[in-house]
Symmetry: C2
Subunit: 127 residues, 2 copies
DNA sequence: TTAATCTTTCCAGTAACTGGAAGGTCAAGG
DNA sequence: CCTTGACCTTCCAGTTACTGGAAAGATTAA
């Protein structure tokens, strides 16, 4: 697969896919005879995993750590489990925060009558 | 309230609180006689709202738009409701993605036996 | 074969902070 | 009263994580 197909499948811009290999976050992909990068399903899954992690505030270093869980053969399952469990708790915290943001906005939507009176009760709260 | 109290309450670094006023995302706070910025509860709520929105991938322009919902007196409730509803759908999409990330990591945790065998079934999936 | 649409590398620019220097302010303790 | 330490100020430079664009080569469809 060429880079644009892989990028689309992973939900990332082509530029970003190149960038992740440049900084060594993922391995450099193999190349075709003419120098085009070629991708397989495994690398796409990995890129999609990174995209999701990045979207939820894990920085590149943390993504490296998450991917390292899979790639470091010297790391024991207990270590993997411990680090991943910590990240899982961080994700749960993010889920709670996202729910709070959702509730804030829901409140706004509900408190607006939706007609053309330029009044919103939530102005008092956030104003 | 001085800036560090407000920043703590909103969950933001002091630097970022200053920055948001510098770029006009929030109004410039009032100053004490000696030039210290002073904050009230309303501005803290607004900063916390921005923090949550930023944490979940809304950029500064989108935060401006969200805050504009409350501040533009010329905007009708119907407009507010329409824009906020669109953002709500984006948040729900983020919640689904976050769940997928959670599930990915959960799978990793579950598939590791947790003892000291350096084997993880998920290596095959992501590797 | 030619035009459109890929792809490459390289380098510069952007968004959103973030760190650090240099200096002023304030509250507590001696 | 004085000092010490933790605040605060502005300003400017640096960082992270991309992102855009130029110049040039490769591939495909008509």
């Amino acid at each position: 697969m060429n880079i644009s197909v892989a990028a689309d499948a992973a939900g990332l811009p082509v530029k970003t896919v190149r960038y992740y290999a440049d900084i060594g976050l993922v391995a450099a992909p193999s190349r075709s005879a003419s120098g085009y990068r070629t991708y397989d399903d495994a690398s796409i899954r990995k890129l999609a995993f990174i995209r999701r992690a990045r979207e939820f505030g894990f920085n590149i270093g943390e993504c490296r750590e998450l991917l390292g869980l899979y790639e470091d053969q010297n790391r024991s399952s207990a270590d993997v489990k411990q680090i991943a469990s910590k990240k899982l708790e961080e994700i749960r915290a993010k889920q709670r925060e996202l729910q709070a943001l959702h509730d804030d906005l829901s409140h706004l939507v509900d408190s607006c009558s939706g007609d053309h009176q330029p009044e919103c009760p939530i102005i008092d709260y956030l104003g």
